[in-house]
C-alpha cells in the first residue's frame, strides 16, 4: 500500500474524524489533571479551603506532556496492532487466490465504511464494529481518573475505539499479510493523525454541523479510494480479464512497444532481469518472443515490502524473494499474448508482451 497516501489520509481526515471521539477522552483526562494540581497547592499553603469550582470549559493546558504521553501511547498501541494484523494476515494467507479474496472483502468493507460515513443508507452502519461494553466502560472510567498514568492508558486503549477511517486502515494492515507492512500501515497512519491532534487540540471537539459533515465527506472519499484500490488489486491477483487501473492507463497512455525492455538470449533462453525495488519493479514492461522459454532474474538489494512476494497469477507462480540476491524464475515457452506479473498484494505490477 502506498504509505504516502496512508499518511496523507491520517493527516487530513483520519485525525479530525477520530479527534471528536478520542479528543473528548483526552480533554477529560487533562482537565482532571489540572484540578488535582490546584488542590494540592491549597494544602501546602496551610489553608483548608473547600475547593468547589467545577471545570466545564475545555482549554489548552500549559503542560504539553499529557498530550505527548497520550499520543505516544496511541502510536505504540496501534503500531503493535498493525504488526499483529499483518502477522495474522500472513497466517491466513495460503495462496494467491486467498489473498485475492481477502483484498476483495477488504475493498468491499472499505466501500461500505465510506458509504456509511456519507450517510448513504442506514444499512451500512452494520459494517461498523462496536467494541464490547466492558471495554467502553473501562475507557470511560479511566477518563475520569486522576491517575497520572491516565493519558498513557487512554492512549493505549484508543485501540478499542477506532473510528471509520481507522477501521479501514486496520483492514489494509490485515490484508497486507506481512507483519512489517501491517506495522508500517498503522504506524504511518497514526503518525499522520498526530499533527492534527496537537495543532487543533480540543477545538475540534466543538466541531458541529456543516464543518463536521465536510470533513467526514473528505475522509469518506479517501476511504472510498482505498477501497477501490483494494478491489483493483484483488482483480489483478485473480488474473481477471478486466482490471480498472489497466483499462484507465491504456486510455491515457497506450502501451507502446518502443518503451518495452528486451531480454538477452542465453543458450536459447530469454533472460529478463527485473530489479525488485521497494515500491516497483524496474523495468516493468518487457517484450519477448513466443515459442522460446523465458527466465526472469529477480534481483533484490535490501528490499522490503510486498514486491518481494512475486507472482505471475496466470501461471500460478508465487515466490517470496530474499532481502538481497538474485532468484531465477523459469517460464516455459509461451503463445503470443501478454503475461502479467505482480506483487503479492496485487499493487505493483508489470507485463511481458509475447510476440
Amino acid at each position: 500500500m502506498n504509505l504516502w497516501l496512508i499518511f496523507f489520509t491520517g493527516l487530513t481526515t483520519g485525525g479530525l474524524t477520530c479527534l471528536a471521539v478520542q479528543g473528548g477522552l483526552l480533554a477529560t483526562a487533562i482537565t482532571k489533571q489540572k484540578t488535582v494540581e490546584v488542590r494540592s497547592q491549597q494544602k501546602i499553603n496551610g489553608h483548608r479551603e473547600n475547593y468547589t469550582t467545577t471545570h466545564t470549559s475545555i482549554h489548552f493546558p500549559d503542560n504539553p506532556l499529557p498530550i505527548a504521553y497520550f499520543l505516544g501511547a496511541k502510536l505504540l498501541a496501534y503500531s503493535l496492532l498493525g504488526l499483529l494484523l499483518g502477522t495474522l494476515g500472513s497466517v491466513v494467507q495460503l495462496s494467491t487466490t486467498a489473498q485475492s479474496i481477502m483484498l476483495m472483502l477488504a475493498g468491499l468493507f472499505m466501500l461500505a465504511t465510506a458509504l456509511n460515513m456519507l450517510n448513504v443508507h442506514p444499512i451500512f452502519r452494520y459494517f461498523v464494529i462496536q467494541p464490547p461494553r466492558f471495554l467502553t466502560k473501562l475507557l470511560r472510567d479511566e477518563a475520569k481518573s486522576e491517575d497520572v498514568f491516565a493519558p498513557v492508558l487512554l492512549g493505549l486503549m484508543t485501540v478499542f475505539i477506532p473510528c471509520g477511517t481507522t477501521q479501514a486502515m486496520e483492514v489494509v494492515a490485515l490484508s497486507s499479510g506481512l507483519p512489517l507492512q501491517g506495522f508500517l500501515t498503522m504506524f504511518v497512519f497514526i503518525l499522520g493523525t498526530i499533527p492534527t491532534f496537537f495543532v487543533l487540540g480540543f477545538a475540534a471537539t466543538q466541531l458541529r454541523g456543516k464543518a463536521r459533515f465536510a470533513f467526514a465527506g473528505i475522509a469518506a472519499l479517501l476511504v472510498l479510494g482505498l477501497g477501490l484500490y483494494s478491489i483493483d488489486s484483488s482483480l489483478k491477483l485473480a488474473n481477471s480479464p478486466f482490471v480498472p487501473s489497466r483499462a484507465i492507463a491504456s486510455i491515457f497512455q497506450p502501451p507502446s512497444l518502443d518503451r518495452a525492455a528486451h531480454g538477452k538470449v542465453i543458450n536459447g533462453v530469454q533472460e529478463l532481469t527485473i530489479n525488485v525495488l521497494n515500491t516497483a519493479y524496474s523495468p516493468n514492461f518487457f517484450v519477448a518472443e513466443s515459442g522460446k522459454p523465458i527466465r526472469l532474474l529477480l534481483t533484490t538489494n535490501q528490499t522490503y515490502g510486498c514486491t518481494r512476494s512475486f507472482t505471475v497469477p496466470s501461471l500460478g507462480i508465487h515466490t517470496v524473494l530474499p532481502e538481497t540476491g538474485q532468484v531465477p524464475v523459469e517460464i516455459a515457452a509461451q503463445q503470443p499474448g501478454t503475461l502479467y506479473f505482480t506483487c503479492g498484494m496485487g499493487m505493483y505490477s508489470g507485463s511481458i508482451v509475447i510476440q
Binding site: G24, T136, R212
Partner: protein, 72 residues
C-alpha cells in the same frame, strides 16, 4: 426499576455510543445504559423514582445528541 428504549439521533460513530452511555449513566438513579450504534437506540434501566425520562433525554441533548422515547 424500569427499562426504556430511546431512539438516539446523530450518533455518527461508535465513540458517540460511549458518550451517550456515559452521559446517561452519570445521572443518579440510572442503573445501566446500553447504546447500539447500528440500531441508533439506547436501552436504559433506571429507578423512575429518582430520575425521569425527560431528564434522561435532557442529558443526551446536553452531550450533543437528540433523543426521543422509542415507541415500539
Amino acid at each position: 426499576m424500569v427499562t426504556q428504549r430511546f431512539q438516539i439521533h446523530d450518533m455518527h460513530c461508535v465513540g458517540c455510543t460511549m458518550t451517550v452511555e456515559g452521559a446517561i449513566e452519570d445521572l443518579p438513579g440510572v442503573k445501566s445504559a446500553k447504546a447500539n450504534y447500528a440500531k441508533q437506540i439506547a436501552e436504559v434501566e433506571f429507578d423512575d423514582r429518582q430520575v425521569t425520562e425527560t431528564e434522561i433525554i435532557a442529558a443526551v441533548v446536553e452531550a450533543g445528541y437528540s433523543a426521543v422515547v422509542a415507541t415500539s
